[in-house]
């Protein structure tokens, strides 16, 4: 294992940092529902999902920190990097929108992560495998919840149906990026540290199509798509999210709980 690590250390760190950023940015977005969800039970449920993602982010950052050539700590990685240094995929950073948008994105992501983490728990990198094995259990619960919400809203009232369909249309162009390979991931493919994301697409399609059909929703056409997250090119709201999330650590550098 030592050889694999040292040969690929830079690529692994880049890869793990991207995974951490995905989880942190999405977890931070979800926390925006805390204290303002439609009702108390859903508030707690959404906050639980947010905490799962923040916990996942922490695990990845700890590993990224271990591998960091500059020796940056978890706090420095999460709280002191700027937007262009964050490499999260764009779908994670989009504003929460209405409840339908939140659930549509959750379902899209859950359907991806349940496949992705299932493969990644067999990564030849022990740390990545362990984090994935823990996270896949969370994803299995998340998808159970989000799937039911898609059915409920899709087959619910006319308004809930329209809102959910609009959310899907708005989100669709951000989904291809989930299946794009970063250069770090490509480099790590031979040693089986990473997985070929494009191979997960058929399983994701199948999962998503089945639920959309059951919920009487139509799968949006792929008429546009964006990417750039892995290169640090983000949507305009990314900086605002960081400003709120990083405020404390920037106002009081080195502050600890």
């Amino acid at each position: 294992m030592g050889d694999v690590i040292s040969n690929n250390q830079t690529a692994i760190q880049t890869f793990v940092l991207a995974e951490a950023d995905d989880a942190l940015i999405y977890g931070q977005r979800l926390t925006e529902w805390s204290y303002s969800a439609p009702y108390l039970e859903e508030d707690l449920a959404l906050s639980n999902v947010a905490l799962d993602y923040l916990g996942r982010a922490n695990n990845y950052y700890e590993y990224a920190s271990e591998l960091d050539p500059a020796g940056r700590t978890v706090d420095q990685l999460a709280m002191l990097r700027d937007s262009r240094e964050f490499t999260n995929l764009l779908i994670h950073e989009l504003p929460i929108g209405d409840f339908a948008f939140t659930m549509a994105r959750q379902f899209i992501l859950d359907s991806f992560y349940i496949e992705y983490l299932d493969v990644m728990q067999h990564s030849t990198d022990q740390q990545i495998a362990a984090i994935s094995a823990k996270s896949v259990k969370e994803a299995q619960y998340h998808v159970r919840r989000s799937r039911e919400w898609i059915l409920r809203l899709g087959d619910g009232t006319e308004e809930s149906h329209v809102r959910l369909q609009n959310a899907l249309n708005e989100l669709w162009g951000y989904t291809p990026e989930l299946f794009l390979q970063s250069s770090a991931e490509t480099e790590l493919l031979a040693s089986k540290v990473s997985v070929d994301r494009s191979q997960l697409k058929p399983a994701w399609d199948k999962r998503v199509d089945a639920v959309l059909e059951e919920a009487s929703l139509s799968r949006p056409e792929v008429s546009w798509q964006v990417s750039g997250g892995r290169d640090g090119i983000h949507t305009e709201t990314h900086g605002f999210l960081l400003a709120e999330m990083q405020h404390l650590q920037r106002a009081y550098p080195g502050l600890k709980w």
Partner: protein, 96 residues
Amino acid sequence: MSQENVLPLFEIFVRSKRGLDHKHVGSLHAENHEQALEYARDVYTRRSEGVSIWVVKSSDITASQEEDASSFYDPSDDKPYRHAMHYTLPEQIKNM
């Protein structure tokens, strides 16, 4: 909140470990039994409190009434032979 009038109430029972009884822990609003089960997981078992959850619609519970107390419970007060109070339990038995 208007949701409280819309979503039915469920009573939640959690078994904290194998061999013990399910205990009533509280109630919550949900659309159906499945959602009640998921919300119960999120509301009542966040800190590893349980290994099993039961959900029951509150409207399905028939409860004894306060005014029935004298006819329901008082008659057993003077029948101590019905109680297992004169036995001493071995120390090993913790849950009885």
